[in-house]
């Protein structure tokens, strides 16, 4: 058992609960047609984002994926600002220009979700090289799915990090599906992505991505290793995606009862609650109170986002450095 204090545990629970409530609510709200574009939900993977980001400082940088809401919340992005962004409002974190796939908040070290699979990994190496220049012990972290581990950019980034001894961390969230294709088909090393990082010359860790305590403990060891100046490292976390690739995905690739089974057996929030109550570290009442507060926060975020002002159409070509026509 990790030696985490009461407040740390309750804080971790709050962040996981916030991610879950945010995503479950979006799943419902998307059906109203008020939210356009593509939305990829993070439900099921909360223990990964929180188990990792809870150990980072605001100066540590992360790059995220198309399935980025969980990373954003775990790294400290404002939940209401995120909801406004997903509704395309002027008050959104990216002024409504980015949407679900492109949320970023550099003030909290969140360098951006990414619509291109594999687009982020090299940028994490860049952030790591910046930290190395400053000699400040900070790290650059690339969250990647099992899909992104097949992109050339990810391979190039891993090798670049190794040869430059950059304090880069490659986090592979293996949720078993590259969009609509199974990982056994799409990844030549099947359910072993970490071995690829190992082949590039990195030290690797493996963890159960549905177990906050395992994710936290394995990443703690990894982080200590990277912060000590040993160069890059990687961790693969076995996790579950409770929804489809995107909202609207019919998920015909799932087996019978699969979604019920993973919600029953692989729910990181349920597992967390059991561990902390069995060990008498937190009470159900405390966590229920957190859930209630989170529910109110999400209600407020949705109400604010639904009522939010749209961006001024005259701003469409702002922030492009140069003007034409």
């Amino acid at each position: 058992m990790l030696q985490l204090g009461h407040d740390q545990l309750l804080g971790a629970y709050r962040r996981m609960s916030t991610i879950r409530a945010f995503e479950e609510r979006l799943h419902d709200e998307i059906k109203t047609g008020e939210i356009g574009g593509f939305t990829h939900l993070y439900s099921g993977q909360e223990a990964v984002a929180v188990g990792i980001c809870d150990q980072l400082t605001v100066e540590d940088k992360i790059v995220s994926t198309h399935r980025g809401h969980g990373h954003c919340i775990a790294k400290g992005c404002d939940v209401k600002g995120m909801m406004l962004e997903i509704y395309g409002r002027a008050g959104g974190l990216c002024k409504g220009r980015g949407g679900s796939m492109h949320i970023a908040d550099l003030d909290v070290g969140m360098l951006g979700a990414n619509g291109i699979v594999g687009g982020g990994a090299p940028q994490a190496v860049g952030a790591a090289l910046a930290a190395k220049m400053d000699g400040n012990g900070r790290v650059g972290i690339a969250f990647s799915g099992d899909g992104a581990c097949n992109q050339g950019t990810t391979f190039e980034a891993m090798n670049l990090a190794v040869v430059t001894k950059a304090p880069a961390i490659f986090v592979f969230e293996n949720n078993h599906y590259s969009e609509h294709t199974g990982v056994e088909y799409a990844v030549g090393t099947a359910n072993d992505i970490a071995s690829r990082a190992e082949a590039f010359g990195m030290k690797v860790w493996r963890a159960n991505g549905c177990d906050f305590f395992d994710a936290y403990a394995q990443f703690r060891d990894l982080l200590e290793y990277v912060r000590a100046g040993n160069g890059p490292a990687a961790i693969e976390l076995d996790t579950e995606r409770f929804y489809g690739h995107f909202e609207g995905d019919p998920q015909r690739y799932r087996g019978p009862g699969e979604l019920d089974r993973i919600r029953e057996e692989r729910d990181c929030l349920k597992a967390f609650r059991k561990v902390v109550t069995d060990a008498a570290l937190l009470t159900d009442a405390e966590m229920d109170a957190v859930d209630k507060e989170v529910g109110i926060l999400i209600d407020e975020a949705v109400a604010q986002a639904r009522a939010g002002a749209d961006p001024d159409p005259a701003t469409v070509a702002d922030d492009v450095y140069v003007e034409y026509y």
């Binding site: 395309g88 291109i116 294709t181 088909y185 087996g255 070509a317």
Partner: protein, 336 residues
């Protein structure tokens, strides 16, 4: 003649051509869908519905689900084409051209020329493009101008089901790399499609309507918008020559120049930012080759010099519209 939509026209053409020519193979992300899952292959059948049933009929050697690896998809298509096959590579979104650009630009497009004309590279790259569905900056772009500018590629943009069949068949029978653009907002457009063998030669624009007052040149979904504008204008007695380019490389220069020589007025509509765009290219063509025919400056209706925003309101502000096209037609007529 059968009535079908563009999606069905593409799917049925792929079925027919793969039946006819055993050298054609298809590869791309989730073109089968469900491989390696409990649901099994074809659980999805292609997320756009343009490859449904192909795997079952033609098997895994000819219908290949790839990992998310766009450089490898395009590069493998280039190599298979050099090796004598006729690959059709699918990019789920045309924006992913960015990931695979080297294989298109430095490789596929250059082979025939660079190897002294001794090779063929009969690869077709099908890609889904276009804005209007709030898919934001990395899933909405119309990168046809970028690829049109590359010597060694042919660029095709069907706007009707009949054209989708005729142009895709032509692409699959040709010996050169073809960039085949499918607009995500046009898949449901219905129309009559000729039965049997139907090919449309590249470089032949389609005269959508003849009105004689102003020449409007468009491609892709902008043809659809221009038709709406032309419908409004005709009520005021303004007749539009509407030209659907169908292919931007090769370009039917004669169709454009012949029309402008009659009307003296040009509006070009392009779902792209303005700089180095197709609109700029065609305006330059007319300015240099039909200068004395012009009665007004060419009008270019494009997006602004900006990425495509997510917000519904901003995306609408970004896109050309029937209203902005109509306004341009009226401006060019009012010019004195």
């Amino acid at each position: 003649m059968a009535v079908m939509n563009i999606r069905e026209a593409i799917l049925s053409t792929l079925h027919a051509e793969m039946e006819r020519d055993g050298d054609i193979l298809l590869l791309g992300e989730d073109v089968v869908g469900g491989n390696g899952t409990a649901g099994g292959p074809e659980a999805i059948g292609g997320i756009w519905g343009t490859s449904t049933g192909l795997w079952e009929k033609f098997g895994p050697n000819r219908v290949i689900d790839t990992p998310i690896s766009e450089s490898a998809i395009i590069g493998a298509a280039a190599g298979a084409a050099l090796a004598g096959k006729r690959p059709v590579a699918e990019l789920m979104f045309a924006d992913f051209v960015g990931v695979s650009l080297d294989q298109l630009w430095n490789q596929m497009a250059k082979f025939r020329y660079m190897f002294g004309g001794k090779t063929k590279c009969p690869a077709v790259v099908r890609m889904v493009y276009g804005a209007g569905m709030q898919t934001a900056a990395q899933h909405s772009q119309s990168v046809y101008a970028l690829l049109t500018a590359m010597p060694g590629l042919k660029v095709v943009l069907p706007t009707t089901p009949a054209d989708a069949k005729g142009l895709l068949t032509e692409a699959l029978r040709g010996d050169d790399p073809v960039m085949f653009f499918e607009h995500k907002a046009l898949y449901g457009v219905k129309g009559e499609v000729p039965d049997g063998d139907y090919r449309i030669p590249f470089g032949q624009a389609r005269m959508v309507r003849e009105g004689g007052d102003v020449t409007v040149v468009a491609c892709g979904r902008m043809v659809n918008f221009a038709e709406k504008a032309a419908d409004k204008l005709v009520a005021d007695g303004i007749g539009v020559d509407l030209i659907d380019l169908r292919t931007t490389s090769p370009l039917d220069e004669d169709a454009i120049l012949d029309s402008v020589e009659q009307t003296g007025r040009l509006v070009v509509v392009d779902e792209s930012p303005p700089r180095c765009s197709l609109a700029a290219d065609i305006a330059a063509l007319v300015a240099t080759r039909a200068f004395t025919s012009l009665k007004a400056p060419p009008e270019m209706i494009t997006g602004p010099h900006a990425p495509i925003p997510f917000s519904r309101v901003l995306e609408r502000a970004w896109l050309p519209s029937p209203q902005t096209i109509e306004g341009a037609v009226r401006r060019t007529l009012a010019f004195r």
